[in-house]
Each structure stands twice: as C-alpha cells, then as structure tokens.
C-alpha cells in the first residue's frame, strides 16, 4: 500500500504526468521490478501511455554502459515525454541520456527525466512516499535561495574534509524535487551545483560511501578515502584498500577528465539512510557529496566530458557561505531552515 502511494506521488506530484503523455520507465535486471510495476500502474491511472523497459544490466554507469544497452532502448529514451529511471546501473550520463537531455536543457527537447536509480521498495517509500513534499519544497527553496546568493564557500567534516571554492552567480543551483519541466531531475532532497572548477581547493574526505559504477560501486566505506584537490583536480588519494582500488580504477579508465570535480551537493532527504546505494546515500540528511568526471549539461558549467562519473559522500558536514555558517556537523544552524527541518522531523 505504501508503495502504491509512493508511485502516485512520483507520477502525479513530482512528474506531473498529463493524460496521453508517453511515460517511459527503465529498469535493469539488478533492480526490484515491483517499483517499476507500481509506477506504471499509477501512470496508467493518470491516463498516460506507459512503457516499462526491463533490460540487461549494463556493466557500469554512464558511457561505460553504452556497449551493453540494447539498440531499441537507445531509440526509446529520447522519444518520450517523461522518463523515470530506476536502473541499478544507471543510464544517467550514457549516450542515450545525452541524446535526451542535451536538447531538453537547450529548450529544444521535451523529455522530463527523473532519476530514481537503484531505489528498492523500502528506499523509495522512505525517500519519496513518506516525505511531506510541501514542507520539503519550502525547505529546499529557501536553501537554494541562500546558496545562490553566496560566493565563497567552505565545507568541513569531523572526518577531515576541509575544502574551499567559489560559486559562479550565472550557474544554477539545482533544486532536486520536481520533474515538471524538460531536462534532468533527481530524487528529492538534493541541491546540486557546479562551483567554479579551478577555485576548488583543499581536502575531501569520503567517509560515507563511494560509487563509480560496476566494480567501482564500493558502497559503504570501511576506511575513509582522502582526496586532495588542487584547482579542481584530484591529485592524491589516501586511505586504505578502497582508496588504492579507486586509484587503480581511475588509471584503468584512462580518462584524465575523470579526475576533475564536476559538482557538489547537499543531502537533505529526511528518509535517506546510509545504505551503500549512492542515490540514497548522497541525500543522507546533513551530508555533502562530490561528483567527479562527467558533468551534466544542466549545471551550465564547463561541461566536462568524461567516460564515467563517480560520487562520494562526506557525512555530518559543516557549511559556511560567505563566512556565515548555515550548518554544523549535519545540523541546520540557520534559524528559518532549522524550523522547517524540525517540521520534517530532522535537525
């Protein structure tokens, strides 16, 4: 029953599906089919034309997955009104994703994409179905507004993250909640933007989880991975066996653009728990997240073109915007944000 309600929220509240629209739901063999089935039912109830594509699981994220995707899927993706991605091995940043999203971002395409990659029944109920969407929207809009106005930023964590960067006022601070206009949208509870790449300097310590797709989908980390960043580029990886693995994996990918920071995010989904699934982990309340490699067109940034994309989580973040602290070790210190957080059952 909770899944049924969640599917209704996804279709009607988040994607705002209209009668006769084509709704494409993609799901690979590694994902729980029930989620696709319930969303399809809700879309059918909304009088949409529904297609679920259940397909072979690619061996990695982004363009790494290209050779494994069935040709009909390539053709289907750019030809829908709404695309809800449930894949465990994401099509996000793959070539068919580019083909759908680039025109959408430029105002020439129609596809409204909602990324819910890898969420099983439990996760989607927690992270969508049980969230007070109206209060969440108010909270996120306020945080986006505050962040958009800021220029110089600093993030620290108890695990040792201490990183500085500057924002470009012309670049959007993306508010991930609704998927009601063409272009890429992601699971609610994330606010993402691309800082000025060369301004990013300091240390990022991933102490939550790390996800690069395929063999680099490390899940929850046993030992933190410490990444030294100079002028937006990762120059050193320190830590335990997982840090060593990431170093070797990046060498194997043989793509220098995989070392460049693509975006930073706040995680503020009241239902998210650290589970090893990046989609959920990067929304754990009070975390920050850094993505490296492929940079999506919606960031309107440098447009780093890389073979894949890797995300890592920094838990319990403290954030300063132009010298003013808005959160401390994962808890909101900004009075109005703290009030809304409380309404959402968080601090």
């Amino acid at each position: 029953m909770e899944l049924g309600k969640t599917a209704h929220v996804v279709v009607n509240k988040l994607c705002k599906v209209k009668p006769r629209e084509s709704v494409l739901i993609t799901i690979d063999g590694a994902e729980e089919f029930r989620v696709a089935e319930e969303i399809a039912k809700a879309a059918e109830a909304a009088d949409a034309k529904v297609m679920v594509a259940w397909h072979s699981t690619p061996r990695g994220y982004g363009k790494v997955g290209d050779p494994y995707l069935p040709e009909p899927l390539w053709a289907a993706i750019p030809n829908t009104d709404v695309w809800i991605e449930l894949n465990n091995q994401w099509l996000l940043y793959s070539t068919p994703w580019d083909n759908a999203m680039k025109p959408a971002v430029e105002g020439k395409g129609k596809v409204r994409y909602l990324f819910l990659g890898g969420l099983n029944v439990d996760q989607i109920v927690r992270c969508v179905g049980r969230v007070d969407i109206d209060t969440q929207a108010e909270f996120q809009e306020m945080l986006v507004d505050i962040t958009s106005k800021g220029r110089k930023m600093r993030i620290t964590t108890p695990a040792g993250t201490d990183i500085y960067f500057e924002n470009d006022a012309k670049r959007p601070v993306r508010n991930e909640l609704f998927a009601d206009v063409p272009g890429p949208h992601f699971l609610l509870g994330q606010i993402a933007w691309a800082p000025i790449e060369e301004s990013i300097n300091g240390t990022i310590v991933y102490d939550g989880s790390y996800s690069g797709g395929g063999e680099a989908d490390l899940g929850v980390l046993r030992t933190p991975i410490k990444v030294t960043v100079k002028d937006g580029k990762a120059i050193e990886f320190l830590g335990g066996s997982e840090a060593e693995f990431v170093k070797k994996w990046l060498v194997k990918l043989n793509d220098p653009n995989m070392y460049f920071a693509a975006h930073v995010c706040y995680g503020f989904n009241p239902g998210a728990r650290l589970s090893g699934l990046c989609t959920e982990d990067e929304r754990v309340w009070g975390c920050t997240e850094w993505g490296f490699g492929q940079q999506g067109p919606a960031f309107k940034a440098k447009g780093i073109n890389a073979i894949s994309h890797a995300d890592g989580i920094c838990l319990n973040s403290s954030v300063w915007i132009d010298g003013q602290q808005i959160m401390d070790k994962g808890k909101l210190t900004h009075p109005q944000l703290a009030k809304l957080a409380k309404k959402l059952g968080k601090e």
Partner: protein, 354 residues
C-alpha cells in the same frame, strides 16, 4: 517457488531464442508485451536470451484498444521508436502491434527478425512451441506448402456451410516452421507461431461463402474469441458483400461500419492450421493453428504477400476460423473435414498423432 510449468516454460523459451530466432551474442533482442498477456512468457524469453549474452529489452506497455494501425495513436512514443531498432523482436502482445506503423517500419528495414506470438501465455507457449516435435512437423508443413504452391485452383468447404473457391496465381505460399533466422518465402523477416501455412490468393477470384464457426478476432471490442453462433460472409470478387448470423455477426457488422474503412471488407489472406498442440481457446494466434482448420484474414494485407510490393492498406485486420475444413487443390483432396487424407501426407500426420 517454482510456478506452473516453470521447467517446460524455460525449455520453450530457450527454443525461441536459441533455435528459432538464433539470437547471437551481443544482438539486441526486443520483447514486447502488453498488460493483457502473461508476463512470465516474456520474462522467460528474456532470461534465455540473457544466457546467450544478448542485449535484452522487455517492453511492458499500456494495452492499445485494437490491432494494427488502430493501435498507432495509443502506443507510447518510445515503443514506436524502439521497435525498428532491434535485431530480433518477439511480440507477445494480446492486442497485436502486427500491421501497425512501427511494425511496418521494422519489417521494411529487413534488419529486424520478427516473431509474432501475440497473446501466447505460458500454457500456450508450452503446448504450441515447447512440446511440438518440429523435426516431424516441419517436413509435413513443407510438403503441404509445395502442393499448395503448385495448385491453380483451391476450394474449401466445411460442415458448417463454408464453400469458397479461388485461384492461386503463383503467389508465394509461406510455411511457418519456427525457423525465424532466415526470411520467409516472400523474402520478409516476418515470422509467426509455427504450424500455419499462409498466402494471399488472387483477390478478385475469391468467391463463395465463408462461415466462421471457430473464433473471430478483430481487436478491441471486436475481439470475440470463440464464437457462440457462426458468422457467415458472402464473398464476391474478394470482398465481403453480406454478413449474417447471430449477435456476434451483428456486432461485427456494426463495428466494420464504424471503422469507416472500405478496405476492411477486402479479404487479405488464407491459412491452413496445422499445429498439433493448438486448441480452440479464444486466442487467435492459437486458434488459427487448430489442426485441420482454415483461417481468413480480412483488411490490412502485408505488401510481401500480394506480389505487388505495396500493402493493401486498412486500419486494422480481422481473422476468423473455419473448423474442420476440407481443402481441395485442383480436385485433389488434401484434408476432409479437418483430417489429412492426401496419401503423401497421411503417414506424416499420423506420426504427429493426428
């Protein structure tokens, strides 16, 4: 927990992808299925293809309210885009995409190996594919096809009052043998559940009376399944000139009028049904293969049957079944009331238990 016919389903699915479509490593196999068909058939075929290292996509989608081009407006756009891009395509849809615009595009591409298993659920897949001895059946189908191909005039009668004759005109006769790896006798990669022989007679020479006493399926509201009362069609020069019978005949007549497409009165093809596993159950893809029946298709006609290279266009397609047919090829009886009587064929049929 294993479900009904789980092992037999796996065997049938393996036959489909490995022996029938001969799916190769790295090929894109598309499986389409609407919400009126048993998803297990699609899932089993997908698993079998994955085992062959194919790239598999199963499309499960909203059911359109009809067959053929009548489905076009109801299909999700990504379904239309996906279909022509496959290397092989198995259709399980109960409301067939067969004869729709994306189907035409796929077949005309000459790249997509298409197999129609419309509405075939687990039990039917096991009965009509998995448990059929294709090594015995295919020589029988091939021999009947050769005989039919050589004939000039054909007459079909049934105990229900069917009596129709037509000329062959040398048009290709296609045996559906489940060998979907090579084009059919018309040069098209359009394949159908095995146990059927299909061709388009010279349309203007078709005259007499057709009596559907098995089943009638036109998609959507005209999908009658098995018939309570026979539907009689008076045929003049390849067109329906009159419809009579019970309640179903009346609904059919009204539905045809509502479609408002004169081409829906044109006869498109005729078939023999010779699948030893087929039963009359109300699912047309199975019904039209009931041993010893003949079947008429009306409306849309594929371009590859008629020798003209262009489709006889119509908004949809209707199929009806004449049970226990007696077929005479140039005065030589092949079947009598559904029983194979031709001396060259009797032993082959007997080996198949028929």
């Amino acid at each position: 927990m294993p479900e009904y016919l789980e092992l037999e389903l796996a065997k049938a699915a393996d036959f489909l992808v490995r022996d029938s479509l001969k799916v190769k490593r790295g090929e894109s196999l598309l499986i389409t299925i609407d919400t009126e068909t048993d998803f297990r058939s699609a899932a089993a075929a997908a698993r079998a293809a994955q085992a062959l290292d194919a790239k598999v996509a199963v499309i499960w989608h909203t059911t359109p309210p009809g067959f053929g081009k009548a489905t076009d407006a109801y299909l999700p756009e990504p379904v239309k885009a996906a279909i022509p891009k496959a290397d092989a395509w198995i259709e399980f849809n109960n409301q067939w995409l067969l004869y729709s615009t994306p189907w035409e595009e796929a077949i005309k591409s000459k790249k997509v190996r298409y197999l129609c298993l419309g509405g075939i659920d687990v039990e039917r897949l096991v009965r009509c594919v998995g448990r059929v001895n294709w090594e015995l059946l295919n020589p029988f189908l091939t021999r009947v096809t050769e005989m039919t191909q050589k004939a000039n005039t054909v007459r079909i009668t049934t105990p229900a009052g069917n009596d129709i004759s037509f000329k062959m005109g040398g048009r290709p006769v296609v045996a559906e043998t489940m060998d979907c790896s090579v084009p059919n006798a018309c040069g098209a990669h359009a394949h159908f559940l095995g146990g059927q022989i299909i061709w388009a007679p010279i349309e203007e020479t078709i005259n007499g009376r057709i009596v559907f006493d098995g089943a009638l399926a036109g998609g959507g509201e005209a999908y009658f399944g098995t018939l309570k009362d026979p539907v009689k069609l008076e045929i003049k020069n390849g067109r329906i000139g009159g419809i009579s019978g019970g309640a179903e005949a009346k609904i059919y007549e009204k539905w045809l009028a509502k479609l408002n497409d004169s081409n829906m009165y044109n006869l498109a093809h005729v078939c023999y049904g010779f699948n030893p596993g087929a039963k009359l159950t109300g699912v047309m893809v199975e019904d039209e293969r009931v041993w010893g029946c003949t079947e008429w298709g009306i409306g849309y006609q594929s371009w590859y049957y008629n020798g003209k290279g262009v489709p006889a266009s119509a908004i949809s397609h209707v199929d009806g079944i004449c049970l226990n047919s007696s077929v005479t090829l140039d005065d030589v009886e092949v079947t009598t009331e559904g029983h194979v009587v031709h001396p060259e064929l009797r032993d082959l049929a007997a080996k198949l238990g028929k």
